[in-house]
Amino acid sequence: MIETLIQGLLLGGLYALFALGLSLMFGVMRLTNTAQGDFIVLAAFGAIALASVVAAHPLLIGALLLPVAFAVGYALQRWVLNGTLGRDPLPSLVVTFGLSVVIQNALLEIFSADPRALDTGALATQSLGLPGQISVGVLPLTILGVAVLGTVGLQALFARTALGRSFRAVSDDKEIAELMGLDSRKVYAVATGIAFLFIAVAGTFQAMRTTVSPADGPLLLLFAFEAVIIGGMGSFWGTLVGALVLGLTQQIGFRIDPGWGIWFGHLMFLAVLVVRPQGLFPKTRG
């Protein structure tokens, strides 16, 4: 039982990495990135392709991916997504959904439908022994650690830095923020760039922990989304807790019947929506 709970929390760590980027983009510019999962899969395939060229540790491969991911996110927001923002959610939804279909099929064309993984070498099997004959994998633990660090980092970025202040300013009132000299288009682009850093990290870890195939994206998006809603919008701590709750629920479901894990997670999401639609730890208003 305790083992199931630990596995659930570790799985939640990975889901938190899926979700932080989505939470960030929605928080700053009310943009729902329906291609979130597909970009994670794209990053995973990017890491796999890079690993076939550069012989380096997978974590180093992930680090090499970061500047590329930031540039892609920045450019995407600056020159494509900014034009779709507005009161009507339709344009941004259609464009990101279109991107999702484009990415899925492009990956299918390039890499075929076979599942692939990053070779993690010894890291895949290393584990720490805990009292009570429980062992915890080093890799899942690292992922959870990175997720917690990422959450702390984002929270600090928003609370303490000038960049975080500009994020909050354009989120609260874009017009006033622009009157104060901020260029909201650039602020948005930086926010998406940072969200894509998380996407790159999530993709690399996903490819290290399990296999990825081109059609995986939508499911990852749904997990990320559920984590955000369960946790409550506007707080990164909420997103982390939401992801952990989702991971736990799924793991318990998997334990009962392997076919029920994901279904259990969905039901947990619906239950939270009915009982506490603002999420467990809501922060933002409106």
């Binding site: 929605f26 009310r30 943009l31 729902t32 329906t34 494509v80 034009g83 779709t84 009507d88 959610p89 339709l90 344009p91 941004s92 939804l93 259609v94 464009v95 959904f97 279109g98 991107l99 999702s100 279909v101 484009v102 899925q104 099929n105 492009a106 299918l108 064309e109 939508p218 998006l221 749904l222 989304f225 559920e226 809603i229 076919g259 994901i262 279904w263 969905h266 039901l267 999401f269 619906l270 929506l273 009915v274 639609p277």
Partner: protein, 351 residues
């Protein structure tokens, strides 16, 4: 629009609208020459199509049934998103429910599957009511993904019901005794009737009092509410009507297909194709999904051999249309030449 409160819910005019219009010296025009011509052409087309089982090849009829399903589904998505402002990626929930309800009625309850088609649509509409209690807690982009999760819940749940074959699906055995030619002709006529009924349903709904309220909500929800429109109730009505239509399309599709599985019935591709059709044709106008479905089907017919390249191009086309031609192809034509085959607006004609 302000003077035309003829069927506005919060009407302050004490006298009949026509009398008011006459006294004020203007006419309210609701049809155009194009719309009258279109109505005539449509009637002829329907009559010609109705005779198809007597002279056309059966592959044409199968194609027609398939287009009809896409078209009805896209039209309902257009009603929901383009008029109701509720962008959903989860309408396949009702498509699948319609299909499975039809199958259950036919295989287990002994209802004639053709008669089960409208009943299945009704079942989908009924289920939409409790679903809305959950879905309406989310707005905008999160509504879109939330409805998708709900559709996934239905897919996974149906996949666990062994009576309908679980994850691998089952066949519509209720149609077994019927001769192939008869089955194809009846399916075709039902599809034709469903298309005509759906276009009429959406058209009449949009020209009604509820439709006017819906347009007001789309333009500005707060202002609409302040005018006395029961925003929640109108939105629920649209959601239920759209679910009915999606269920109709689903039931029809699987009557034509004879085989159903959760992955086919609840596939997100249904919503994806509806979104692409509506956006490319022109959202928020009845002609949009008609044009979009024809383009979609033509592309599908000629390019689907290219598999993933075809889907890639479709996604790309939707992106380009959204960014550069926000009104879609028909919207562009309408702005350029003033075409309107199904006018829902009220225009003033001053003497």
């Amino acid at each position: 629009m302000h003077a035309l409160t003829d069927d506005h819910p919060a009407s302050a005019l004490p006298m009949p609208a026509a009398a008011a219009a006459a006294r004020a010296g203007f006419d309210v025009v609701r049809s155009t020459r194009a719309s009258r011509v279109a109505l005539g052409v449509a009637a002829v087309l329907v009559a010609v199509a109705g005779s198809m089982p007597f002279w056309a090849e059966s592959s044409w009829m199968r194609d027609f049934v398939e287009i009809a399903c896409y078209l009805i589904f896209a039209m309902m998505w257009n009603l929901l998103a383009g008029y109701g402002g509720m962008v959903s990626i989860g309408q396949q929930a009702f498509f699948g429910l319609g299909g499975y309800a039809m199958l259950a009625l036919g295989n287990f309850a002994g209802v004639n599957p053709f008669a089960a088609v409208p009943l299945a649509a009704l079942a989908a509409a009924l289920i939409a009511v409790p679903v809305s209690w959950v879905a309406f807690r989310l707005q905008g982009g999160y509504f879109a993904i939330g409805t998708w999760v709900i559709a996934e819940v239905f897919r996974l749940s149906v996949a666990n019901i062994s009576a309908v074959g679980g994850g691998s699906g089952t066949s519509l055995t209720a149609l077994r005794g019927i001769e192939k030619a008869t089955r194809e002709s009846v399916t075709f006529w039902i599809a034709l009737a469903c298309v005509v009924a759906s276009v009429a349903l959406v058209y009449v709904f949009l020209r009604s009092k509820q439709g006017l309220a819906l347009l007001a909500i789309r333009d500005n929800e707060v202002a609409a509410e302040s005018q006395g429109i029961a925003v929640r109730r109108v939105k629920l009505a649209v959601y239920v009507v759209a679910a009915f239509g999606a269920g109709l399309a689903g039931a029809l599709y699987f009557v034509g297909n004879l085989r159903i599985s959760p992955d086919a019935a609840f596939s997100v591709n249904w919503s994806a194709f509806a979104i692409f059709m509506v956006v490319i044709g022109g959202i928020g106008r009845i002609e949009g999904p008609l044009v979009g479905a024809l383009i979609f089907f033509a592309l599908n017919k000629f390019l689907s051999d290219y598999g993933s390249w075809y889907l890639l191009g479709l996604g790309g086309l939707a992106i380009v249309t959204t960014i550069f031609f926000k009104q879609g192809l028909w919207g562009y034509a309408q702005q350029r030449w003033g075409w309107a085959l199904f006018p829902t607006s009220r225009r003033l004609r001053l003497p």
